[in-house]
Symmetry: C2
């Protein structure tokens, strides 16, 4: 099987040499766009705010701010709310970010569901739509996907910029060109999803791994710190890395495959060919492997977690102990992550959050006891609070960000 994958991925070599990046030169345009972006960001982050306060906060000249604000008003990215409270002089004119100047679509494709949201430019959810399925082919899933996107597009209010982008998160490895190289749990291999979707809809499309999207979502809508590790634990384990404030994707886009990190060198062999992989001990796989001990040998793999949570809720001590063991092993992998990255925040997301009640304590105890002391100084370990929305919000935010990036570089 591995050889097969290798062949698929080899085929996928694309000559990236063409991207010989032109050294960026600096001219009046650079400075104008830079300052315009600065003004826009100041308004986004500090509204309600007046022209005078922007000048004060950024250090820009009042005249400069005035002219940039005037252009932003023309472009409908901001609007004037009216006079604010005076502080002893002329009343300021309050400026606000016009978050409904455009809309973004975020799609989370799971193993047995598709979940889509429509957000405004600030990330507020305006509409959501989901459906579940079971073992569909790619073409069938594609139809479902189109159905959801169509529905979300239709529901979007009319706006200056319309749908600024579609972001799609998938449970698998994606490359920088928007191809899904491998999504084992969906049975996808080497699918050029970006092109397929872009051909149907007339807007930029971004394809991203589910854990990376989740990490970005947590960065955008969480506490906003700069070094965040998002650990997505479901049937497998994927990790999204926000380092120095940016998503780190790796040389080919395959970073964060920490489910296949060895934590038990002489342990059982994983389907990936390695021994003692973390996800054998700390993901749903650990539950699935013990399913028969709980009389669940006939259940669908996708249901076992829920069944076990039910049993634990009912006080089944064996189920609770199994969760405790899993929490302990989760801790082992998290220690590796913490010692490697010295992050400010580790966020655990995806389906395992359903078992938070039983895994959290053992996990925290393990980390607390065994991670290097100085790593724990400014460290937070949380379970995701965006619940099922993390991935969809993340990819939607990706698309919005991309829209502004294009705007900035114009």
């Amino acid at each position: 099987m591995n050889k097969e994958y290798y062949a698929i991925l080899q085929k996928n070599e694309e000559s990236d040499e063409s991207t010989m990046l032109q050294n960026k030169i600096w001219n009046q345009n650079t400075i104008k766009n830079g300052n315009k972006t600065l003004v826009l960001e100041t308004i986004m982050n500090h509204s309600p705010i007046s022209r005078a306060s922007i000048a004060d906060k950024t250090g820009l000249n009042k005249g400069t701010v005035s002219s940039q604000v005037s252009e932003l008003l023309d472009e409908d990215l901001i609007y004037e709310q009216g006079p604010g409270k005076s502080s002893g002089g002329r009343k300021p004119v309050i400026l606000l970010f016009n978050e409904v100047a455009g809309y973004s679509i975020g799609i989370d494709i799971g193993v047995n569901y598709i979940f889509g949201i429509l957000t405004d430019l600030k990330g507020n959810i305006c509409q959501e739509k989901s459906l579940t399925f079971n073992k569909l082919s790619f073409d069938e899933i594609k139809e479902k996907l189109f159905e959801i996107v169509d529905c979300l597009i239709t529901s979007a209010p009319s706006s200056t910029y319309g749908i600024v982008g579609i972001g799609i998160g998938v449970p698998g490895a994606t490359n920088k060109n928007g191809k899904v190289l491998l999504a084992p749990n969906l049975g996808w291999q080497n699918i050029d999803l970006k092109t397929i979707v872009e051909n149907r809809y007339d807007c930029p499309v971004i394809i991203e791994n589910e854990a990376n999207a989740g990490a970005y979502g947590e960065k955008k809508f969480g506490t906003g710190v700069d070094d965040i590790i998002y650990v997505s634990i479901g049937v497998g384990i994927g990790v999204g890395l926000i380092l120095n404030g940016d998503l780190y994707q790796g040389n080919d886009g395959f970073s964060g495959e920490m489910g296949h990190m060895t934590i038990q060198a002489d342990g059982k062999t994983c389907r990936c060919g390695n021994d003692g992989c973390w996800e054998l001990y700390a993901s749903e796989q650990a539950l699935i492997n013990k399913a028969d001990q709980f009389g669940l040998e006939m259940a669908d793999e996708n249901d076992i977690l829920q069944e076990m949570v039910g049993m634990a809720e009912d006080g089944d001590q064996e189920a609770i102990n199994l969760f405790k063991t899993i929490g302990d092993y989760m801790g082992v992998g998290l220690i590796n992550i913490i010692n490697s990255f010295n992050p400010q925040q580790v966020i655990i997301g995806n389906r395992i959050t359903a078992a938070k009640k039983w895994v959290e304590q053992p996990l925290l105890e393990k980390v607390n006891k065994n991670a290097l002391w100085f790593q724990q100084n400014h460290l937070e370990i949380n379970f995701s609070e965006l619940s099922g929305y993390t991935t969809a919000l993340g990819v939607a935010a990706f698309s919005t960000e991309n829209f502004f990036k294009i705007y900035k570089e114009r």
Copy 2:
């Protein structure tokens, strides 16, 4: 012992809140400095080069290039070599980077040695000086350090900018303010090395962890790819991370403590308190722990590696097998690193390179067999070829870079 460390590090909390970064505004000065730097970098990377070629390559206007070149000549950062070969018209004037306009000092402080180099602005080594010692106090080491720096400064030819900076690499955890928080093998705790050195010499001082410095050295003087993991294996294991072309230091500067990554969850307990740490199996510690089996129980810890290498050289099968086992375990940790970071290059450095002959094959086999296939597509695994110079070159390059950074922001 851990509690003790904790206290030390707790005390070290400094209010970083003051660093409320003023949003950077864009004005004519930004654009001028930006273009000037662009011209300088083009000359550094593509010399010999003429004004016309610079304009061509960068996209800048010929007039702009001319005026920037004129300033750079005034500042002595470049010089005119004379006329070059004509390609059918007027002969170009060849410009070259003036690498001897200043000098940088790089110091590598090891467990039982200090090694210092003097480099020009391009990183060419002009002078080196080293000495070894055994179990000295900090104050004694400090004196030795000053002695070496004094000697290097004296040996520097006179130049426009003189000594542009001193970089020091230490085997321990450093924070962003140049304090050595913890260097267990030197017995140092919470030492403000940067201030101490800066008070004696009138130039910027940079303190960096030895593995981070090594990573930077490999980036600067190696193939120059963007995602490099430098694995420094000596008595412990430290890792330096170059991600997206920049050093990643972590939230507090403690990234890369992968020596304490669990690879055997039920393994032996490490001095750090965790179980099954990588460095117990894949560093000199694995040798030291078996020293008595080879009749080396009386040897100094620092000499055991060399002794064992000698035995292996002489064909001692048991020693060779031990190295093979270590190579195999090195592979286990490298797999974790590769699956986590999807790097382009992994470089193994520090003392273990002495055993390359025996550890390399087992290591490569292990990685080849057990790392995810698609991670191996564009992956290189090398042993450092800068040998003992890696760390010193890295910190010297840090200092040079810092000089140019200050120059740019001026």
